[in-house]
């Protein structure tokens, strides 16, 4: 007879066999057998004790986003399971591979409102790619294999494994087989020859094509192929927020970021293009604005692994269903070399106006207080534009994303689809742990930082060298901006009474300093980046500073506000 091991051992060994080297978690009653067994695997599986389960999920997301590997979380039942909901939802929206193991009460207690019982599968089904309850030790290996396969393939996403206590302690034979096939799930569809031909014809015939590069390009590792396509056919490239760093910022064909606070050129030219080539992106409403007028002169070619995105928001003329890299590799030989000097020239004027009227003001403001843009630009410069930029949500997100420059792939970690305040700090921790070789700069607001500020404890414990740039305007700045623009300047519940952040960092043993005035900024950034370990700078930001340009929600993409009073002149 084969040797028997416990369900807990089976779980841990399965994780290790899937290549997991690090899990983010927090113990509790219904997961204690697993934690007890973890004790004996410390040499092979590093457990990071976060300070709140939400932090575990965002840390796992940060880890996954920078490494491309599946982030793993282990928590207990009940309140711990409900604490992971935000992270699951965020990971689903932003296609992040993650496996979350939740403890559950023993099978005989299911449905009796036992202590710390929650219907985890019921709650998480709408916000996961797959959610499954393991009730027997012998199902552990099968479920873990399936979980990793589902989370990491196709359009990646979060998976929940809810493991009952009796499944953790039950004994089973263990024979691990990775999953590579599920009948009802084909994550790598064969690319249709006819789709490629049609796509190539559209591209070859187009006069004014524009590439919209999204997160899918990063996920599939298609950065080189993207550049090759752009260069061969001389096509301008714009990225989504999550697509930043899929093409280097200094690439001559890179024309900027799309969206509500994106660059004017790509937004306005969306409505001048005659072909939109969307790769691994999903036409979010923050990109399209008014869908009725969006890309009104263009045919749309959509390349995506998730066919449910085709035509979901924007009607499409042609599609390639498949992995972005596969698709581009097959498409490239069919593309004719072209030069599109005139069309590319049409990005010059909006770029120039944006530089003069928006960027210049942000980088060299008149007032004594600093702007978020100038801080981000300085930090980016000081890292040689090589850092991983992690952001929280709000003005700090938009401005640090806009004013950082990117030279390597996988250099942005931000909560795009869900816009989760509090995402940033734990995500930065996960990112640094996933890529200890890279500098991780985390930009945050005073509001968002306080949503998961307890994770400073995690930084303290593990010495995680996250560089925290607190863009402190003593306001919920993004909401303040909308109040200023659309609610008559009535600042309802947006001023923040803040603690002494430097003292808080100090209490956690994290070196920190206040940056009150502009002349202190360079020195502080230098000390922050020069320090071997975590560091926080608390920068005094002008609360009246706003994120521009702005295409208001639901408006046309070529209706761009340059500031509070001026509109970009479309000719």
């Amino acid at each position: 007879m084969k040797e028997l091991i416990s369900g807990s051992d089976a779980l841990i060994q399965s994780l290790i066999l899937e290549g997991t080297d690090m899990v983010f978690g927090y113990p509790g009653g219904s997961i204690m057998p697993v934690y007890d067994r973890l004790f004996d695997y410390q040499d092979r599986l590093k457990h990071i004790l976060v300070r709140h389960e939400q932090g575990a999920t965002h840390a796992a997301q940060g880890y996954a986003r920078v490494t491309g590997r599946t982030g793993v979380v282990i928590v207990t039942s009940g309140p711990a399971a409900t604490n992971v909901i935000t992270g699951l939802s965020d990971a689903l929206m932003d296609s992040t591979p993650m496996v979350v193991v939740t403890g559950q009460v023993a099978t005989p207690f299911l449905g009796f409102d036992a202590f710390q019982e929650t219907d985890v599968v019921g709650i998480t089904q709408p916000i996961t790619k797959w959610s499954y309850q393991i009730r027997r030790a012998e199902d552990v290996a099968w479920a873990v294999a399936r979980a990793f396969y589902i989370a990491s393939t196709g359009r990646p996403g979060p998976v929940v494994l809810d493991i009952t206590k009796d499944a953790q302690v039950g004994m089973t034979e263990f024979d691990y087989k990775p999953c590579n096939y599920i009948r009802s799930y084909n994550p790598r569809p064969d690319i249709k020859e006819s789709d490629l031909l049609k796509a190539a014809e559209l591209i070859n015939r187009a006069e004014r094509p524009m590439i919209l590069s999204g997160h899918g390009v990063m996920i599939s590792g298609a950065e080189a192929e993207l550049a090759e396509l752009a260069e061969k056919s001389d096509i301008p490239v714009a990225t989504t927020l999550l697509g930043l760093s899929t093409i280097p910022s200094d690439h001559p064909l890179y024309k900027g970021m799309l969206g509500m606070h994106g660059n004017i050129g790509p937004n306005v030219n969306t409505n001048r293009a005659d072909l939109i080539i969307a790769i691994g992106m999903r036409f979010d409403d923050r990109i399209t604005g008014n869908v009725k007028t969006y890309a009104r002169n263009a045919k749309v070619l959509h390349i995506d692994i998730d066919s449910s995105e085709f035509g979901k928001n924007i009607p499409v003329d042609a599609t390639i269903h498949g992995d972005a890299r596969d698709a581009l590799l097959k498409l490239l030989p069919l593309i004719e070399p072209r030069k599109r000097t005139r069309w590319l020239g049409m990005f010059d004027k909006p770029q120039q106006i944006e530089s003069e009227q928006v960027i210049e003001r942000e980088l060299h403001p008149a007032g004594p207080k600093m702007t978020m843009g100038e801080v981000a630009a300085k930090v980016s410069e000081a890292t040689g534009h090589r850092a991983i930029v992690v952001t929280d949500v709000g003005q700090n997100q938009m401005l640090s994303a806009r004013y950082s420059r990117y030279s390597e792939p996988r250099s942005i970690v931000t909560s795009g689809g869900l816009g989760t305040m509090g995402f940033g700090l734990p995500a930065a921790i996960g990112a640094k742990m996933g890529r200890p070789d890279r500098t991780v700069c985390f930009f945050t607001g005073d509001g968002g930082l306080q949503m998961t500020i307890q994770e400073l404890g995690t930084i303290m414990e593990y010495g995680t060298a996250v560089k925290i740039i607190l863009l402190n305007n003593n306001f919920l700045g993004n909401v303040r901006q909308w109040q200023a623009l659309f609610f008559k300047g009535r600042f309802s519940q947006t001023p923040l009474v803040n603690p002494d952040f430097v003292a808080i960092a100090g209490a956690y043993g994290i070196p920190a300093e206040n940056v009150e005035t502009r002349d202190q900024l360079d020195g502080a950034i230098g000390r922050m980046l020069g320090h071997d370990g975590p560091y926080l700078i608390n920068v005094n930001i002008d609360e009246t500073d706003m994120v521009f340009p702005m295409t208001p929600a639901g408006g046309n993409v070529d209706f761009v506000m340059l500031n509070q009073t001026e509109i970009y002149p479309v000719d």
Partner: protein, 180 residues
Amino acid sequence: MDEQLFTVTVFTENQVGLLNQISIVFTRRCLNIESLSVSPSSINGIHKFTITCYSNRAMMERVVKQIEKRIDVLKSFLYTDDEIVYQEVALYKVPTPRLLDDRTVEEIIRRHNARILEITREYVIIEKTGHSDETESLFDELKKYDIRQFVRSGRVAVTKSPEEYLTMYLEEQECRLNEL
């Protein structure tokens, strides 16, 4: 866009929790499920859901794609009434004395192609298979006899197409497995 009645069929693996996964696709979009029936399909281990819903085509196409995205869903299809042969079953419970008093009962049952399943001293149970307008028109006629209970099943449907898309899909997946 015009609303009309659509029939969605969903073929799934035999896993728990699928009804919830499918129904939330509708509720999230504020769509009311008109009728629902679930049963094993002709293929061992595969379950079939038949759902009817009033909406427009664009919305329903989205719904079908979202349903198919669920891991344990094999395939989902969208039909209008002209593409399928479909039926429902209705049962009517009527007090016996009222029916017997009236000579036209037999004629009504014949005309509607209905049948009697059970007669007791107190009540008669009538069954009618057909489309919903047919079961409803019998309902209207029986109303005067004081219907005590009335129930209509969800729709069951088979396609008119000579192609069996599910079988084709399963064969494709078999090939995919063999290639691994």
